[in-house]
Amino acid sequence: MEIPRHWRLKQQRYRLVGEVCQHCESKIFPPRDICPECGGEADTLYTFSGNGEVYSYTTVHEGPAGYDDSTPYTVALVKLDEGPTVTAQLTDVDEDSLQIGMPVEMVTRKLKNDGDERGMIVYGYKFRPRMAVA
């Protein structure tokens, strides 16, 4: 069980809270103490829109412990509109329609079972195809 660790990350996992650099205005995810763009100190929170596009994707058929019940699942590199790229699972997606460049949006879903069958469930961000604006 790793409750404190998952608790610490809940702002990132549930809401994509990163940072904006006060020096160069870069958007940063996940949050870190030093801006990777300019090397300045980073400490101002910024909530990402959750919109992005698929940079690359693949399917996991043999998952690690805690994920082996969910196979097969799709993982992707998602380039967020604000700049950074994240690794995340895709959900609610039709495999055949999936392609590089596809617009996606963040949703919160179950990521894994932590520990045994009585263990805590870890929730976090996944991405699904972005709904077309009517």
């Binding site: 990350l9 996940p30 693949t58 993982v75 994240v86 690794t87």
Partner: protein, 386 residues
């Protein structure tokens, strides 16, 4: 400053050593290396290992393995850099001897992957990535490599069998290496029929996990007689660089910056140019890594590494022979021990002892070991001394 030379080496076969435990496997390689070095007793043991603490529930390998090998009392520590662990240990040994602090050092790469099987093994392997932002998403190393390969193929318009050259070359060379896990050449048709692991990666794009131990004895050159039984191999260049641990944190994911940096430094230190290198042992744990390594080091231009393999450029008679004893793909991938195997295989070539796989009269070998997607890259230049 004095030269650092490889005086002796020894390796176990690479495969599933169900009957042999961590300490015994290690000892077999150590014993062979010390005998090959004419019985030279090392003053220190640097162990390169990736996952023994998780897979074998055994940390603190230094004292365990030194003692088991009859070297109780010497300096003995572990160095961890995921798949690059024993290459990092080799560099630590090089620095210790080069600085004059030590005269002789033993480097051991050891990995006992078969101590854990099933999804627990995959979980352990995933701990080498960013736990909070990669592994938590169910990402595995092979899936991550698939993400890279898919994007690479998309940008460079690579055909479906475009990467076949890496596996074909590796298996052709594995056939001549009696320590290799796979000692059979494969045909292009077999590659094309390979089952998908994580699309577009098929089973022939992935090096097999295996157990293995490999050891090298380093020494200061002046201490050795000039008329020893084996040609001496000098470590002419040694460098290490790091990149972001998480792949997604890089601006340019399709270039291994740390591989580029460490290779550049090692080659400069050896005072040679890229075209003087006679063979390249790259970290082909996935064929996409091999392609990116060729490009990042400079043997191929961006997006063209796969073509060099497809056109026979990495074969033993090609422009730059790679994976000359089978590479990780055919010799097998014993995790953190891989770098020590690479060093031994390059040394075999430079000594002229590579038997059926011998490259014609090589003087310089480049070896490069990666941790993760080149989050760590350790590069050495080895030189034959006549």
């Amino acid at each position: 400053m004095s030269d650092v030379v490889i005086v002796g080496f020894g390796q176990t076969t690479v495969g599933e050593h169900w009957d042999t435990d961590l300490r015994k496997l290690s000892y077999q390689a150590i014993d062979a290396a010390i005998k090959d070095a004419g019985g030279l007793r090392p003053q220190a043991l640097y162990v390169g290992n990736m996952l023994a603490a998780t897979l074998s529930k055994q940390a603190h390998l230094g004292p365990l393995l030194a003692d088991y090998a009859g070297l109780t009392g010497i300096e003995a520590v572990t160095i961890e850099a995921a798949g690059a662990s024993s290459a990092a240990a080799l560099r630590a040994g090089y620095l210790a001897v080069k600085s004059g602090q030590l005269d002789t050092v033993l480097i051991l790469g050891i990995e006992k992957f078969s101590d854990k099987i099933g999804s627990g093994f995959d979980e352990a392997l995933a701990t080498t990535s960013d736990s909070d932002y990669e592994a938590v998403q169910g990402l595995t190393p092979v899936a991550q490599a698939a993400l890279l390969m898919k994007r690479y193929m998309h940008e460079n318009e690579v055909p479906a069998d475009g990467f076949a050259g890496f596996a074909l070359t590796a298996h052709a060379n594995g056939a001549g290496n009696k320590n290799a896990m796979f000692q059979k050449a494969i045909k292009p048709e077999l590659y094309a029929k390979g089952g998908m692991v994580s699309e577009p990666i098929n089973i022939f794009d992935v090096a097999p996990h295996a157990d293995g131990a490999a050891a090298l004895v380093l020494a200061r050159r002046e201490l050795l007689p000039s008329n020893g039984p084996n040609p001496l191999i000098k470590i002419a260049g040694s460098a290490s660089a790091s990149d972001t641990l998480a792949l997604h944190d890089r601006k340019d994911m399709l270039f291994f910056e740390a591989a580029h940096q460490s290779a550049g430094k090692a080659i400069n230190q050896a005072e040679i140019s890229l075209d003087q290198i006679n063979l390249f042992e790259y970290h082909d744990v996935f064929s996409i890594y091999a392609a990116l390594s060729l490009e990042s080091v400079g043997f191929a231009t961006r997006g063209q590494g796969w073509k060099l393999a497809a056109d026979g450029g990495i074969a033993r008679d090609g422009k730059i022979p790679c994976a000359t004893m089978g590479g990780l793909k055919a010799r097998g991938f014993p995790g953190g021990a891989s770098g020590a195997y690479q060093a031994i295989e390059a040394a075999q070539q430079l000594r002229g002892g590579a038997e059926a796989n011998q490259i014609e009269d090589p003087e310089y070998a480049l070896i490069q070991s990666l941790g993760g997607p080149a989050s760590t890259a350790v590069t050495h230049v080895l030189q034959r001394l006549d």
